[in-house]
Amino acid sequence: MQHTISIDQIGPNGVEMARAVEQCVHCGFCLSTCPTYLTLGEEMDSPRGRIVLMKSALEGTLPLLDSLPFVDRCLGCMACVTACPSGVQYGNLLIPFRVRAEPLRPRTLTERVGRTLVHETLPYPARFRVAATAGRLAELLRPHLPEPFSAMLGLLPDHLPRDAEPLPYLYPAAGKPKARVALLAGCVQQVLAPDINWATLRVLARQGIEVVVPHGQGCCGSLMMHDGDDEGARRLARVNLRAFPTDVDAIVTNAAGCGSGMKEYGLLFQDEPDEEQARAFAGKVRDVTEFLVGFEMAPASLPDPVRLAYHDACHLAHAQGIVGAPRKLLGAVSNLTVLEIPEGELCCGSAGTYNVEQPELAAKIGERKAKNILRTGADAVAAGNIGCIVQIRTHLARLGSSLPVLHTIEVLDRAYRNAPLFTTNEHR
Amino acid sequence: MIHIESIEDVQRAMRACAHVLPRGGGSKPALSVPPPDVEELDLSNLKGVVEYNPGEYTFTARAGTRIDEVQALLAGHGQYLPFDPPLAEHGATLGGTLAAGLSGPGRYRYGGVRDFILGVRLVDGTGQLVRGGGKVVKNAAGFDIPKLMVGSLGRFGVLVELTFKVFPQADAFTTVRQPCAKLESAVAALERVYLARLDVDSLDLMPGEGGSATVWVRLAGMPGVLHARAERVRALLGGGDVLDGTDDFLAWREAREFTWVPPGWTLVKVPLTPGRIAGLEAILDPLQAQRRYSGGGNVAWVALPDTVPAQRLDGILLPAGLAGLILFGPAGKVRIGARENEVFERRVKAVFDPAGRLPDLA
């Protein structure tokens, strides 16, 4: 599309933003995969519409604030990128736009407190544990709390897992090591589902991969990055740039959101002094399934047959293009049938902190995902991201279903140990 | 009767006469008998193929050109009119066929006359020569006036030149005929074929004596596999005789030329759907009509003895929500049964024929 954006005047990432606008031919192919368009049925809440709005705001032909309600409602799921025949890198427009908009927009007190809460607790496991515990106690207050606090509380599990054993610095490979990787332990996940990391270590080790879990690492900063706080994101990212060794075959993560964010460090650190280091880091980032699929997998089997619905986390399938690897790994497990979820390209509504910031819309999108999952008749669901696991579990529960929801790596872990996929005790 | 030799003749006649009715080959007598004080324009001499390009799958011809002549020309190039125009041996013309909106049993496979008309030239009620559509198989420019002319019975203008799309003719044909003791089983068999993933050329059902009915299925294509395909049809129908060569030809000629209609009887076209065959059979029962269902049950051809006035059929079709067009029988009110809201039709009529020189919409 033609535009009159003054590229030099719109700050960093101006070239990428303008290019995304230029490449868009307004064909509308993205609409059929956009969860907000399918839910809200109006052009402003579609990728095509949002591109027009962001373009106009950048041109100055539309007041920035007029575009924000709709840009805010974007999940950032990047399903549109997968669908776009013209190759529009929508993320390269959305993320910098949000960063640019942040200082220019008024926020209510509730919004500011909510954002601060999210930004100051989620990335820090210790703080998050405290906040989550307090949140559990505040359950009674929930109906009286404004959004997004109410939404946040609604997503917390009934019981927080016991504080798990701290992860070891080095987890040795079984047999002679074929590779050496560094693991991102994550933030929220360590509190809500610490077993995911342990399962990751076990699976990698069984495949002959040595894992280091660097000390002093922290949150990858993706939440902040996708939320428009690039300074905050860089602050957190730098902790990891310092903490992670460079002499590993890959920097592995089991959270799709983190993987997608870290792969974008180049964009985040554009024109920064440590840009090169950030790019080198980003170049090594791999999702655990992406990394594992390159190895000859050891035989794995579940003790009893299980029909498993596989959910594509949007930050895995669309943002990173990782679709085949998890399916190949799961497909190789005996006694496991992998089922496709109808409307599989649609986000579950978690999308980072979307379910906290846009609770109503996230709930509609989450309900749609839950219903689609139930349509498969599966015995369990697997996904490659903690956010999805929480969101799907919440919305299945709201439909009265206690279908187990696990991480892909947990499924593989149990298969290698020939352990049952779930028992009644496993329900969290 | 004014004998037309040229397009200008038509224009002159239109301007000179107060009321006109165009006539082609007169093969649909009910449509060709003018009321008193209506001048009939005989277009049977406004004939001839103007352009034919087999590589383009199109031809243009004057409206009075006989169907059988066109078919012979096309056959020489391995092509044909896929809508299987009826009454060719009775002198049906291109213009008359289009204006009456008639298609034969072979319409089942690729579509009816409306699906093959590409362009028309007509003289409207003010004597203007108007062109609609084009000469290529794909055209989305302007309003689809060619389609408007389908079934228009000369109400909007006198067709003078038509451009049609044609298709390659199949190499060979075969027919499966399955007589059924009961109508019910025949309809069920027809519906099985209707839904099947087959490329059927024609699908007809003809009720017979004592509540029986015969299902007719024609297949077209490469000779080598025709009988294998016929076996699949036989399996669907639960049996049936296979007819080839002359038998196949004659079977469909009977359908196309309506030779099953006794002389002097009224013949009415009733658009239908397969699910409504049983219902129509039930309400036609008291009339001693002869019937044939064609196009997979999308059209019923109802023949009434001359002792049964068409009004009786009108009285039966109307409450059933069905429409009818009288082809053989009394002229005058040839459209019987249910009618759509005429609002749209009237406005269109006013544009093409403001002075009412052409027949009214009845």
């Binding site: 031919v25 402003m44 025949p85 | 084009g134 420019a141 298709f167 759509e340």
Partner: protein
């Protein structure tokens, strides 16, 4: 435009629609200013989003009462500006009128609301092994209402026809608010084919609410063949041979080198390397018949000089071949910042001639032209690539586009095979039809829409009718010299 009347209409609409379905803020209106013909943008006064047919009818009645123009919009994918808003008019967005009201496999019909997505009809019919045949490349998002308004085509038109050949009945609201039913459920009819007249009337006759479509049994077997040629002429020649052999393929498509490049970059169909042109031929039907026809086809292709021939081995192979072709238009965005996509038709036998002429014209204007086309029916889609930032490039591209349209007319073809006239080609309608013909069409339009409020400014050149026709003013973000000089009218 009488702003009084417009304001009165808007006030009336606020009683009919809740605020979230009556859009009037700048941020809400901006995304509706354009469809897929992005060179034109017009901001409507308001956009309404009805959820029932009744709301549509009431809206049209109100527009009629206040004499305010309206534009119906499905998914806004028109390539000719079909849903371009009218200044001081409203847009009626029909995407929420998307219910499939009835699907009767026994009768092989479906009754759907106008906002239903084309592909969703096929998806609903799939459990019965039925499908809705017309398949425009945008079918995963375009609406059936839009398809009806523009008589949309697709890749399977030679054998199966266009949208119009699959529509059995319509329920429409005329511009004065009257609701009319045309046609029915049968493929046969008595009386003039008013459904046929309505399809392709580009929104000038009112708004379609409900559509009865015909469903066909899904072909049992597809044989999809891809042949690579070292010249475009050879591919065109191959098409003539296929036609001459008496075969009737379901689809016959050609893509040239530039289009192949774009498609490859976009969706990685893995087309043969280095091809100057590829030909896609698809046979379909009963397995025995397809096998026989395949033998004939393969012989024809062998003799046509293809340097590589591939046959789809399974459904996913077939999907991949088609995906490349169907994404070609949008994919071209990767090769060039801007492009104009055209839709001319020439007699098939003159296809090679037309392509050679287009190439020559492209060189003359210094612009690259990618070609994708429905070779079976002579429907060309030249994609004129240009860079809008380059001075004078847009003007050259538009001039080239005009010359190509003239070429089509000269060759006895059409200015549009399937995208419709709408805004993009309205100035060319008089080159295809005489004054008399245009006059009849104009009078038809006025008979159905005397107030000229239904999608005005589309199809007919501005000034048609000569009695103060209201034409929309398109506010292009770049008003360039030719526009200002009135040499091209973009209004």
């Amino acid at each position: 435009m009488d702003n009084h009347a417009l304001q009165a209409l808007i006030d009336a609409l606020t009683s009919l629609y809740p605020p979230d379905r009556l859009l009037s803020k700048a941020g809400e209106l901006a995304p509706y200013e354009s469809d897929a013909l992005t060179a034109y943008r017009v901001r409507p006064a308001v956009v309404v989003i009805p959820e029932t047919q009744d709301e549509v009818i009431q809206t049209v009645k109100l527009c009629h009462a206040h004499k305010v123009p309206f534009v119906a919009r499905g998914s806004g994918t028109s390539l000719s500006g079909g849903s371009l808003p009218v200044k001081d008019g409203i847009v009626i967005a029909l995407n929420r009128l998307n219910h499939i009201l009835k699907l009767d496999p026994r009768e092989r019909i479906a009754v759907v609301e106008a906002g239903t997505i084309n592909l969703d009809i096929t998806k609903a019919a799939a459990p019965y092994d039925l499908y809705y045949a017309p398949d425009p490349s945008s079918q995963q998002i375009c609406t059936i209402g839009g398809n009806v308004a523009f008589n949309s085509g697709g890749a399977h038109c030679l054998k199966y026809g266009m949208t119009s050949n699959h529509i059995l009945g319509l329920k429409v609201v005329l511009p004065d608010g009257q609701v009319v039913r045309l046609g029915g459920e049968s493929t046969e009819a008595v009386g003039p084919d008013l459904v046929g007249l309505f399809v392709g009337s580009e929104g000038l006759f009112g708004i379609v609410l409900e559509i009865t479509v015909r469903l066909l049994p899904r072909p049992e077997k597809y044989h999809t063949l891809l042949a690579a040629y070292s010249t475009l002429e050879a591919a065109g020649e191959a098409v003539s041979r296929v036609v001459a052999s008496g075969l009737l393929p379901g689809a016959l498509e050609i893509m040239d080198r530039l289009a192949i490049q774009a498609a490859e970059a976009a969706v990685h169909p893995n087309y043969p390397k280095g091809a100057q042109a590829i030909l896609i031929v698809e046979l379909e039907g009963e397995p025995e018949e397809v096998s026989e026809e395949t033998q004939r086809l393969e012989q024809v292709i062998r003799e046509s000089g293809a340097y590589e021939v591939r046959v789809a081995q399974d459904a996913s192979d077939r999907q991949r071949i088609w995906k490349g072709r169907k994404s070609a238009f949008s994919a071209v965005g990767r090769l060039s910042p801007d492009y104009i996509v055209q839709d001319g038709v020439v007699p098939r036998s003159r296809l090679s001639e037309a392509l050679a002429e287009i190439k020559r014209l492209g060189e003359q204007y210094g612009l690259r032209v990618a070609n994708v086309f429905h070779a079976g029916d002579g429907n060309l889609h030249p994609l004129i690539l240009y860079d809008g930032r380059e001075a004078g490039a847009l003007e050259r591209a538009e001039k080239l586009a005009g010359e190509i349209l003239d070429l089509c007319i000269r060759f006895g073809g059409s200015i549009t095979g399937e995208h419709g006239v709408a805004v993009e080609k309205r100035d060319y309608l008089p080159r295809m039809y005489s004054e008399t013909d245009l006059d009849v069409m104009w009078r038809l339009r006025c008979a159905i829409d005397p107030e000229q409020i239904a999608n005005p400014g589309k199809m007919f050149p501005p000034g048609t009718g000569g009695n103060g026709v209201v034409s929309p003013v398109a506010h292009s973000t770049n008003l360039h010299p030719l526009d200002q000089a009135g040499i091209i009218s973009r209004e």
